[in-house]
Amino acid sequence: MANGSQSSLLREFAPQIERTSIVQTLWILLLVGIIGLGFYALYIQISQGHIVTGMRDNVVWGIYIVNFIFFMGISYAGALISGTLHLFRAEWRKPIIRIAEFMTIIALLIGPCYILLCIGRLDRLYYLVIHGRIQSPITWDVIAISTDIFGCLIFLYLAILRDIAAIRDFQSLRIPSWKRKLYSFLALGYTGTPEQQKRLHKATDIMAAMVIAIAVIVYSVLAWIFSVTLQPGWHSTIFGPYFVIAAVFSGCGVMIVVMWLFRKIYHLEKFITRKHFVNVGVLMLILSALFGYFTFSDYLTKWYGSEKNDELLIRLLFDEYYWLFILSNYIGVLMPMIVVGIPKLRTISNITISAIVVILALWVNRYLIVVPTLESPYLPIQDARPAWVFYNATWVEWALTAAGIAFFALLMTIGSKFIPIVNVSEMEDKPVPEEELLA
């Protein structure tokens, strides 16, 4: 591959890599500040005990677990979108696939942190390894998530390798020499020989397929943590596939919002067009239908032939949690259907707004799966202490939630300053001829 042709496109992204503007610096400082507040909250939680959270003996898992499910869902969606689009050689994927890859790995690094926040004795965390029992779904989760992190890191690395080499070869880029050395080291001597290209291509294909499979397993295992218990709202055979669908659904929402942000900030209007929003939007529409179907099935069977405790749960959902339930399971489902379903409404901003609604709805959906179930156990909660009866997240939990989101944004920002947020090398590849695609 000739250096000249590569740098033409890379030059467009050079400013992002070369320098950080004042606005960007302030943005990064803001994020670091939020993360700092999160660490302060963590310090409070560790020094004073979990009493500083809203969790108590009945609702032992709160928004930490909700965030865990949420971030893992984003990661899974990223893996599925980037993996399938790569395998299907969808031409339109090229400008947005890097965003999906970044999302996958960044959310995957943040998600598991939330499960650690629920653990009462972090000092004994290594017991999970030295005393691990394979019978426990938590052990399945430990194995699945660590495999996923490993697999996704390899996948991401393979995906950025060509761009790293391109930056290394881009002599006129004004970056400090240590950075150049870093790129040169990370490029692993990739020069784009036909043999290297062939190998890289094969490896990326294998990892794309693997990442899809691993992500399905990871997310199902996560669902099984809930459904293997006997709790009325959780003990459901549908949970594995339901969680997988909900994950990709929410991830599509995050994908669209991130696309919109990068498009605005880095002026990528030329690369990320309405077509991309519509395409991911259609994916979101299909998933909203599937998600709505699963949600309906789950609650219909709980409500129609209801056992006493299912009835209590349904009553709680339609009583205390009425508006949240409507938001997550009606508005969140119908909004993308209407906005993307009606061609006239399919503008970039409309799709982005519906994506924001989807993200909120799906977060609330997980909250409604976790919290109300724990608030309606088999034995009625008889307690005079309000905190023991109903769960209310405290500032510590919200601060750590904000810190997670800030960390996601921070890593996205830093990532985009390290590697172009649009896959430059792939953009310059010629489209794969149709005969080859079918073979």
Partner: protein
């Protein structure tokens, strides 16, 4: 989180020493200052004394109420008492929510007010059925989901049917709490002063001293069983509601009355709570028929915060109307 780290060799040697003491026989006291190690500082002196034989051959007089027994090690606690299969029977016809079981249990296990291993519920199946008091300990199920889901083996089922927690192993993930359909497990959300009151080395059989960030629950008091005593709740109950015994020997007792377990269950139509879940509890209930007290008696003489617990029950709501 400070208290847990003191698990050094010093502690183990003391535990060994105590175990040897146990082998020498229950009630035998060590000499001199060591006698203190066998006396519970949290317990108020009752004035009633008893004579014990020290290993040194001396006879000493100690206060009966303060007498405590050596505990077995964590390793030993995993085995279970040989040839036993413990079972509890709770007679709902006799319970009037006196709460003596709750208080004795909290006292014996050095629990703060926030934590109850034994809870007393006011249950009522439907609008047209009678309300009744329902003491709920831990069920020590034969098919315990809590044990299945524990990722580190911190909670375990013993040969004698008892399910215990090793709070030096527990990582505090709370999966067992969500796994239990009976809401029996409690979490130490912070450190409580009461945890410090126990001067003895930790043993899962005593569930004490508790530790912040770990799970605990009713343990059927195997430390008391080993020295021929009944669990705290059983001996504290003024109504003899709770029977404790051995399924293999087919006998249960509340301290003053003793029954053949199988016959008691047959005659009084004993049942297990939520049998449908398939957890196979070791706790049986006798239905609240021919009751000794009207149910409202249980609402008398309660502390305000305890009384308020039942404010939202259908029965109390109906009364208020």
């Amino acid at each position: 989180m400070k208290k847990t780290t003191e698990n050094g060799p010093k502690k183990n040697s003391r535990r060994d020493f105590l175990r040897k003491g146990l082998m020498a026989g229950a009630g035998i006291m060590a000499t001199g200052g060591l006698v203190e190690a066998y006396l519970d500082p949290a317990q108020a002196a009752s004035g009633e004394t008893m004579k014990v034989l020290t290993p040194g051959g001396e006879i000493m007089e100690v206060d009966k109420a303060r007498l405590r027994y050596p505990r077995v090690s964590i390793k030993e606690s995993k085995k279970g008492i040989p040839g036993r299969k413990f079972v509890m029977v709770i007679d709902l016809a006799r319970c009037k929510n006196a709460r003596a079981c709750v208080e004795a249990c909290q006292h014996g296990h050095h629990l703060p007010k926030d934590q109850e291993f034994m809870k007393v519920y006011l249950l009522q199946e439907t609008e047209h059925t009678a309300p009744y008091w329902f003491p709920k300990p831990f069920y020590h199920c034969d098919n315990p989901l809590c044990v299945s889901v524990c990722p580190v083996g911190a909670t375990y089922k013993r040969t004698d049917g008892i399910v215990l927690i090793d709070n030096e192993r527990c990582i505090g993930c709370k999966f067992c709490i969500t796994g239990c359909p009976y809401s029996t497990r409690v979490f130490a959300w912070r450190h409580y002063e009461e945890f410090n009151e126990d001067a003895f080395p930790y043993s899962p059989e005593a569930s004490s001293p508790a530790v912040e960030g770990t799970v605990s629950k009713c343990d059927f008091c195997p430390d008391l069983i080993r020295v021929g005593k009944l669990p705290y709740c059983v001996s504290a109950c003024p109504m003899g509601v709770i029977y404790f015994g051995d399924l293999d020997e087919d006998v249960v007792t509340n301290g003053s009355e003793t029954f053949q377990f199988s016959q008691l269950i047959r005659d009084r139509a004993g049942y297990r709570y939520l049998e449908v879940l398939g957890t196979r509890p070791s706790v049986y209930y006798l239905p609240p028929v021919e009751r000794q007290f009207p149910v409202d008696r249980g609402l008398d003489d309660l502390d305000e915060d305890v009384r308020a617990r039942y404010d939202n029950t259908p029965h109390v709501k109906k009364q208020k109307r």
